[in-house]
Subunit: 616 residues, 2 copies
C-alpha cells in the first residue's frame, strides 16, 4: 500500500507515471492529484526560472499561487506547497527558499547480495543475488520521498564494496543507467561507492594513486561511466578503513589518494566523496597512548588545502561512530580550505535499531549549535530504509528521514519541535491533544534512550557486533579502540591536555568548555574526563547517583511512553508495529537499566540513595 | 596421505580393502602388512572364541602368538598386539583384556549441510549439501582408527537434528545402510540422532509419547530402520534442551518420553540414548534462585528406576557444559537403577578449540577418582574430527581421541603419563629425551590452560557464542544461567546449603569435601563458594594473589612449551601446524592473562605482591 510506504505523503495516492522525464512533469502531476482534496479553490502555476536553481519562490495572490523555480526548484516548491496545505499551515503571500547545501545525500549500505549492512527495515531495495534488482514503482516512490524533503543524491551501494558490487561501474553499468533515469525526474542523482583497489582486478599490479597505469584506468573508467550516466553525482570511497584498501598501502596520503580519483571525475563535473573514517581497528587494548577519537583529525587536518576542488571529505558527526552522544568531530571545525560533508546515520545502529524510538532532530540541533553552517558544504546520511512493509521498520523512524531532508536543506529550519509536529500532522492528522502527546514522546525519546543506555558520553557499552542491548565490558578488551576503563573507583578516559590531549583538537572556546569538569556538559563528562564515582555534579548529585537516577528515569519514561502510545488513534498497520516494538523497547530498557546499574554497583559498592532495586 | 590422517597407526600404510566383511579379515590383513616390519620373526594366529565377545586373550610362546577372541575381540587383540610392538613394549606371555563398558561411543555433531557444530578440524566427514556424502576410503580409515582404540559405536549426525538430517531414518536410509556396511568389519555400529518431533512431519498432530499414533509411528519406523540396518546401535536424542522439542511440551516426564522410543527399538536390540542436558536456557540473570548446575539432577534423579532397560541416560561429566574444570556431575552418582553413559567432549569447545594444547587424560582420571566404575555402563564422546588434512586440527589433539578409546575400554588402564607416552611413541617414535619433553608438555597442558583462563572453577569467562578467548563478563547478564557475580569485594556463587544448595546433590563424602573451603580442592573453590579476594588459601596466598600467580604462570608455561616444541624433530606436516598453532596459543594465553588480571585488578584494587605488569 503506497501510503504506508510514503508515510508523510498520504495525500499523494497515485503513483508517478513511468514515462515522465522532468521534475516539472512530476510537479504538475502531484499538484493535479493533491490540490482537489487539499485546497480545491487554489490555482497553482509553475514558472521556470533557471536563475533560482534548486531554490524556489512562491507568490500568492488570493487563491492564485505561482511557483518560480529552477528545474528542480519547481518540484521542491511544489512539495513545500502541498505539505504546507496538508499540515494546515497558513500559506504566506511570499515565500522563498533555497538549499544551504548543494549536495544532500543518502548513503545506502546495501550489499549486492541483498543484505543491508546495519539495516533494520528488511532487505535491500536495490539488490538481490548479486544483481541490481528493484521494483521500478518503488524506486519512483523513493524518488518522490527524497524530492519531497529536498534530498538530491542517492548512493545505492555499501561503502564497504563487497564483490560483485564493484561491477556497478563496469558490467552492470547499463542497469545502473536505467536506474538513474528513473530517479532523474525527481531531481535525484545517483552516486556509487567504488572499490579503491579496483584497477587490480584488471591486471594492474597496484592501486597506487601515483602510478600512471592506475590513473589511466580510472580516467578511462570515468569516461565509460559518464557516457552512460552523464549526471552521476560522483564516487563515494571508504579507503584505508576497517580493512578496506587505500592509499596508505602505497605510502601515499589521503590527498594524493582522493585527488587521483577526483581528477578522473573532474571533466564530467563529478564529485569524489571521501569518507574520513580512518582509525586503527586493531588497537591493543593495553595501549593507552592511542586514542581513537583523535584519529580523523590526525589523518586529515594537516592536509587542509591539498584536496582538489571536486573532493569532498565526508566526516561523521562525532569522533567515534554514531553513538547516542558524542561531541562534535573537531575535524569539522578545522579544515576551512577543504570541502566537507557532514555524515549522519539515520539507520539506528547504536540508537535502538528502529525498535526503540529515537528521534534525531534534537541531537542534530546540538551539533549545529557548535558548528558554523558554512563549515560544511554538503550533508550525507546513512539510510534507514529497507523493503519491509514499513520502509523504516518502526513507523516513527520515518520522522528521521523526513527531518534529515529538512536539515540538509536548511539547518535553521529544522527546529526539533517544529519538524516533529509537521511530520505528525502530515503522517497521522491527529487531533491536537494526540499530536502533542506523540510529539512529546518523540521529543523526549533521545534523552530517554541516552538515560537508560551508556552513561554521560562514555559510549560503547553495547553488545559487540550486534550493537543492540547492553554489554558494559563488551568492547573493553577488544581491538576497536573503545574503552571506558571503569574500575572500583572511577571511570573514563582523560582526554584533556593532561591525558590523551584529544581536547586540544578543538577551537579554543570548545576546548575550554570541554576541558573543565565545571563547564563540560554533564552528558559529555565521561567522554572527556576520568572521574571517581563520588564526583560531585553541578546539581549536587554524585556521578554514581546520577547514573542510577538516569537509568531508573529512562526506564520509567519508556513505561509512560508505552501508555501514551497505547491511547493514540494509530492506523491499524502502524498500531501493530508500534505495539510490537514498544514491547521490545520496554524489555531492552529494563535490561539496560538493570545491567548498567548492577555493573556500577558491583564496581563501586555504592548504594542508591533512593533505595530502588539494584540487582546484585 | 594416510599416515598423517591415522596419526598413531603409521605402521599401517595400506588401506583396508573395500571387500572385507568381517573383523577377522581386517585383523588378518593388518597383521600381514605390519608384522614384517614391526617384528619379522613373530608368527600370529587368530582363534575365534565367541565366549570372549569383545574381549581377547593373547598367549605367546617364543615367537608364536595366538590371539583368542570373539568376533571383534580378535580385531581388538590384533591392534593391541601391533601397537605394543610399534611402541616397543615387551610382549607378555599371557595377556587378557575385555572392555569395562559395552558401548564406547563417538558422537559427531555434524550437520547435513556439512558444517560441524563446535568442530575445529574442518567440515563434516559424512555430509555435504544436505546429503550423506563421504569418501569410502576415509570411512574405512575412521573405522580402523576407532577399532584400534576399541571404540564401537559411531553416531554420525548432530544431536541438534537440523533439517534435513531427520531423513537419515527415512529417505536416506539406504545410504545410511551402505555406510553401516563399511563400518561393520571394524566392529563399529552406527547410531543416529533423531528428532523427537518427527511424527509431526507425517501428519500426526503431536509428538506426545503417550499418544498411540506417535507410538505406532515410531514402532513402524524402527521396523523400517532395522530392516535396513539390523545391527544399528540405536537412537540418540537431545530433547527439551536448548530449544529442542521433547516430552515436556506434552506434560510428560523424561522416563515417559524415553521409554516410548526405547520400546520401539527393543525388539531389535536397539538402545535409546537420551541426553541429560536439560536446563533453563532462558534464565533471567536477576533470578538468584535458579542455579543451572542443579538442573540435570532435578530433572532426572527422581525418575531413577523408571527407565526401561534399553534406555541409557547420557550425562555430561560436569553439571555445566564441558568447562576446563567442573566437579563431577552428581547425577552420575545418584541413579543406581538406571543405565548411565558418561559424556565427554573431545572437541575442544571451551578448552582451546584445537589451537591451544589441551591433553584430557589428566582431567578424566580426576573424575574417575570420584566415581565408582560401575556407576555407568557406557561412555560417549563428542568427536574432535573433521575433514582437515590433519583430522584433529592440531596434531596433538589426536591424543585425546586415542586416549578416549583406552579410557572407554578400561578407565584403570588410561593413566595419563602412560597413555601420553604410548601415543607419542606410536605417532612420532622420538628419541627418549624428545619423547619426555613432549610428554611433559602434554601432561602439563590442562593445568596451564586452567591457569591462564577462568580461575578456580568459576567457569564461563569466555567470549560468548564463539567460546575461544576471554570475556570475563561475557555471559554475566545473559540467559544461560552462567554467572560469577564478581564485584569489588568477592566472586562466586555460594552453592553450599546456605546458598543454592547444589552441594546437597552429592553423596556425603563429596558433599563434605566440597562444602567446606578448608577441604574443597583449590581448583573448585569458586565453583562452590563465594569468596572475598582477600580469602586465605591453604597455601597462605590470598585468592586474588593466587589468581594473579596462576595467570602469570600459565602464560610462562606456554612460552616454555613453545620453545620445547621448537626443538622437537616433528615431521614437516606436523611442524607447520604446530608452529602456527603455538603462535596462536601464545597470543590467546597473553590475552587471557592480561584481561583476567586487569579485570580483577579493576574490581579489587589489589596489587600483585610480585609487582608484575597488570594493565589498568
Amino acid at each position: 500500500m503506497a501510503n504506508q510506504w510514503l508515510s508523510w505523503l498520504p495525500f499523494l495516492p497515485a503513483d508517478v507515471p513511468a514515462d515522465f522525464a522532468s521534475p516539472r512533469e512530476v510537479a504538475a502531476f502531484e499538484l493535479a492529484q493533491a490540490l482537489p482534496t487539499l485546497s480545491p479553490n487554489l490555482h497553482v502555476s509553475l514558472a521556470e526560472d533557471d536563475s533560482l536553481g534548486e531554490g524556489f519562490h512562491a507568490v500568492r495572490k488570493g487563491d492564485d499561487v505561482t511557483i518560480f523555480g529552477g528545474k528542480t526548484g519547481l518540484l521542491y516548491g511544489t512539495y513545500w506547497l502541498l505539505m504546507a496545505l496538508a499540515s494546515g499551515s497558513a500559506l504566506p503571500e511570499d515565500h522563498s527558499s533555497a538549499p544551504q547545501y548543494a549536495l544532500r545525500m543518502i548513503n545506502c549500505w546495501d550489499n549486492a547480495d541483498g543484505n543491508v549492512e546495519r539495516g533494520y527495515s528488511g532487505r535491500s531495495l536495490f539488490f538481490q543475488g548479486g544483481k541490481l534488482t528493484y521494483d521500478p514503482a518503488r524506486m519512483r516512490q523513493l524518488g518522490r520521498m527524497m524530492a519531497s524533503v529536498g534530498l538530491n543524491v542517492l548512493c545505492i551501494n555499501n561503502v564497504n564494496v563487497h564483490n560483485p558490487a564493484q561491477l556497478l561501474i563496469e558490467d552492470d553499468l547499463p542497469d545502473l543507467a536505467k536506474l538513474a533515469a528513473i530517479f532523474r525526474p525527481f531531481g535525484v542523482r545517483l552516486m556509487v561507492s567504488i572499490d579503491y583497489s579496483q584497477p587490480m582486478r584488471h591486471g594492474i599490479p597496484t592501486a597506487d594513486p601515483l602510478d600512471e597505469r592506475v590513473q589511466a584506468w580510472w580516467k578511462h573508467q570515468a569516461e565509460v561511466v559518464y557516457a552512460a550516466i552523464p549526471d552521476l553525482a560522483g564516487f563515494l570511497v571508504k579507503a584505508d578503513s576497517e580493512h578496506r584498501p587505500g592509499p596508505f598501502t602505497y605510502g601515499r596520503n589521503h590527498a594524493e589518494g582522493a585527488n587521483m580519483l577526483a581528477r578522473a571525475l573532474k571533466p564530467f563535473g563529478g564529485m569524489l566523496v571521501w569518507r574520513c573514517f580512518v582509525y586503527n581497528c586493531q588497537q591493543d587494548w593495553r595501549d593507552e597512548k592511542t586514542d581513537r577519537p583523535k584519529a580523523a583529525y590526525e589523518h586529515y587536518v594537516y592536509l587542509d588545502g591539498q584536496f582538489d576542488d571536486n573532493v569532498i571529505l565526508q566526516v561523521k558527526n562525532g569522533p567515534f561512530d554514531f553513538q547516542v552522544r558524542e561531541p562534535i568531530s573537531p575535524t569539522l571545525l578545522a579544515m576551512p580550505k577543504t570541502n566537507l560533508a557532514l555524515e549522519w546515520q539515520l539507520a539506528q545502529e547504536y540508537t535502538g535499531q528502529q525498535i526503540d524510538i529515537f528521534a534525531m532532530p534534537v541531537m542534530w540541533q546540538e551539533l549545529f549549535a557548535d558548528m558554523p553552517r558554512n563549515s560544511i558544504m554538503a550533508m550525507a546520511a546513512v539510510s534507514n530504509l529497507g523493503n519491509d512493509a514499513c520502509m523504516t521498520g518502526h513507523p516513527f523512524a520515518a520522522l528521521n528521514f523526513f527531518a534529515y531532508g529538512a536539515l540538509a536543506w536548511d539547518p535553521d529550519a529544522c527546529q526539533p519541535d517544529d519538524i516533529i509536529h509537521r511530520w505528525i500532522r502530515l503522517t497521522y492528522r491527529f487531533a491536537p491533544d494526540d499530536e502533542n502527546a506523540l510529539a512529546d514522546v518523540l521529543l523526549g525519546s533521545r534523552h530517554a534512550y541516552e538515560q537508560y543506555t551508556a552513561p554521560l558520553g562514555i559510549c560503547w557499552m553495547v553488545t559487540p557486533n550486534q550493537h543492540y542491548g547492553p554489554s558494559p565490558d563488551g568492547y573493553e578488551y577488544q581491538a576497536w579502540g573503545t574503552y571506558h576503563k571503569a574500575d572500583r573507583n572511577a571511570i573514563g578516559i582523560d582526554r584533556t591536555a593532561d591525558g590523551t590531549g584529544y581536547v586540544l583538537q578543538y577551537p579554543e572556546a570548545l576546548r575550554r568548555r570541554f576541558e573543565s569538569t565545571q563547564t563540560c556538559p554533564d552528558e559529555l563528562l565521561l567522554f572527556f574526563h576520568r572521574l571517581p564515582y563520588t564526583f560531585k555534579m553541578r546539581d549536587g548529585r554524585t556521578l554514581i547517583q546520577r547514573i542510577y537516577d538516569d537509568h531508573f528515569e529512562g526506564y520509567e519514561w519508556v513505561e509512560r511512553a508505552a501508555s501514551i502510545l497505547k491511547a493514540l488513534p494509530l492506523p491499524d498497520f502502524d498500531r501493530a508495529l508500534v505495539d510490537e516494538r514498544i514491547g521490545r523497547q520496554l524489555h531492552n530498557a529494563r535490561e539496560w537499566r538493570d545491567i548498567i546499574n548492577t555493573f556500577f554497583h558491583r564496581l563501586s559498592g555504592i548504594e542508591d540513595v533512593h533505595e530502588r532495586k539494584i540487582y546484585r
